[in-house]
Symmetry: C4
Subunit: 239 residues, 4 copies
């Protein structure tokens, strides 16, 4: 049994074990990464997390070289989407050694790409892709309409509220934040209209906007159930 | 007319009366349980609620033994999902006697399982199950994507807001609370971004997230209307 | 041309004029009713609104007697749904004369039923009824599930938050208000969990709840588009 | 190669370049317009923005005359929807010269119509129009029902909350603002019920309202996916 079969196949027992170990490591690295941000950690815990970080990164490095070794085309793997993610998941660790830790923080963000590796093992993603292809144009259209609506809403509310609330609605960009929080119906409550005109404008924008912003999700759901239906039909036809 | 017919069947008059009485008791026990939590109750009311509690529990105990007696396989019933719920609905009451009442509170939570007994009498639940089976894989996929999105959003906002709002965005776990409140569009307003970067990030996350988080409900609705359509077709074909 | 043709038919010109006048009066009465609640009205405006109120009520009374006169079966109309609404739309005005005005306020609520008269003239409502019949059972099931979910969420959050926030989460009924504001994603921000347990519980409840609460709207939309499709098919088949 | 081919056609290379330049100018004018509203701009930046404004407006003016010149019927173009938008996009600039700048602000709103020119170049809008035609009646019906629901909710909450919160729920119009923020689930948190009756009323309104307000988006999504399906079928049939 060679390394190729273990690393690349997931039908064999060693292959499945390898996959499960890698996935467990990804989850573990996410957990340690999150726990590290807790402010009042004991020194011992922080030390343990540092050790775990080193071990996980070394294991990911080993995995990267195993995949590189097992790949049909090594350059192909290194330049593939997942190859780059695998590399980016370990590289920041080695680059950081010797550099000031704080400036490194921004690179830590890249470690999150480890998360995306979870996708590689999922077959279900294919159905999602098909649904996206079906609903692609409509989703694009609604994204454009939503963007326009957000902008028009920002300009409108700016003219209604700027004079009365110059701090909250300081510029169209500040108004845009209101438009995002309102049209997505999040409504934090940090910024809202207080003039009668602004409230009526908000009402109009919401009535139009709710029928727009919620459509992409509906389209995606509709396309997904259609793809599901087609697959079930294909299966029942024995294909 | 034996006990079996009363307890287990719901087509006969005594069976239907038995079912209705049990359901009324469940609702009554929920009401008394809720009223008990009101802080400024008169001593008389509190006493009355205590008596009602005892009576209802005794009746549920009687029901449990009746069901146990009437069941084809007594061990089978005792170990079945509903058998366990029936038991858990009365057991805390007997375990509590002699023990301090306050430590018991956590067990009271289990009494809520009484609620789930309402399900047993419903036939409509079957259609819901069928729809869940149809949309199962997609709902699972979207749950995973939603979880990933929540995590990525938490990490992102942590990097944008932690320096400016160290109390609100204390750690990635605190940021996760923001991500939940934001992506579900609840938006309590207890935690929200104030930096420009954080606001732009929130905008991007919401644009992507709204098209993801709302999809499972759409899938479920779509599957349900499909199941309903199939059933109507089957009926019209005289099957 | 007799009164019957004017009051009951809407194909003839006088009938259409009669209908339009009645509808305009309904809208006018809604506007005056709303304006009356404004706190800082001038005495002259208030007087004018009072006069308008009297005139509108007299015209509605006249309309009621015309409909009563024109009806095939007078008792039938008087006891019909719309007959009762027509009566309730004017009765509070006559009952009020002589009684203290403030105690009358609650009866004013009934005047709102005037609004419902707008429905009589709409044909589109039929399609909506058909869709409701199609999706009836599923909507009922989801209402029950939603009610159970709301209750379970209330009890759960009560146990997590009561000790820390005894004022906000005073009883299960107070927690129910939180559950309503949260699961509908309104999230006013007047009540929200602050304990870690309560936040995790909120997360779980929302993940389950969003897939439940939004389903009835999806079912209704699905049923409506189905009814619309069937109607278009019937029309294209020349039926 | 005459001007007509450049201005009106988008299949030829010069025509495509012309379109792209116009679109880039529109986006640029939106950006400068937004940046101008920022309060703490340096004098140099503000000057630059002013120059950009003049240049963009002159180019739009040139474009307007080119389109006027190239049009088959010049009066027809001038009076067409897009002709008027093209005119309104530049006119405020010339009207403003000589007038006080502050009074001009309200006219600046019209410049936003430039945005709508983006639509001219989009073909995808046709599918959206077809879906709107399919779902038109249902969307209209639900708009009417939503309006009625909003009004009834306002009156109801006014009676419950006015006595306790006379400032927040000052009149039915103020309550309407609550109804909009609540039924759209935005929930800013600036106005919410505090009485038990008001909270129960809110619960009832939300349970009914959520199943109403979210329906138009569902209908639109359903109609859009139907139009998309029909188009794919037509294509696969070689039509």
């Amino acid at each position: 049994m060679d390394i190729k079969a273990i690393v690349e196949e997931s039908d064999t027992l060693p292959g499945r074990v390898f996959d499960l170990v890698v996935q467990a490591l990804i989850v573990l690295s996410i957990v340690t990464f999150s726990v590290e941000t807790l402010p009042d950690l004991a020194a011992g815990t922080r030390e343990l997390l540092g050790v775990a970080e080193v071990v996980i990164t070394l294991l990911f490095t080993l995995e990267y070289f195993l995949r590189l070794y097992a790949a049909e085309s090594r350059v192909g793997y290194a330049l593939s989407f997942y190859g780059l993610i695998d590399l980016l998941a370990v590289l920041p660790f080695y680059i950081a050694s010797g550099v000031d830790l704080r400036s490194l923080r921004i690179f830590r963000l890249l470690q999150l790409l480890r998360l995306m590796k979870l996708f590689r093992y999922s077959k279900a993603i294919r159905r999602f892709s098909r649904a996206l292809v079906i609903a692609r144009e409509e989703i694009l259209l609604f994204s454009v309409i939503t963007a326009m609506l957000l902008y028009l809403a920002s300009v409108g509310i700016y003219y209604f509220e700027h004079a009365v609330q110059p701090d909250a609605f300081k510029s169209i960009f500040h108004s845009l934040w209101w438009a995002v929080a309102t049209l997505t119906t999040v409504g934090y409550g940090d910024i809202y209209p207080i003039t009668t005109g602004g409230k009526i404008f908000t009402f109009v924008v919401l009535m139009v906007g709710l029928g727009i912003v919620a459509v992409p999700a509906g389209l995606l759901a509709s396309a997904l159930s259609q793809v599901g239906m087609e697959e079930r039909e294909e299966q029942s036809q024995g294909r």
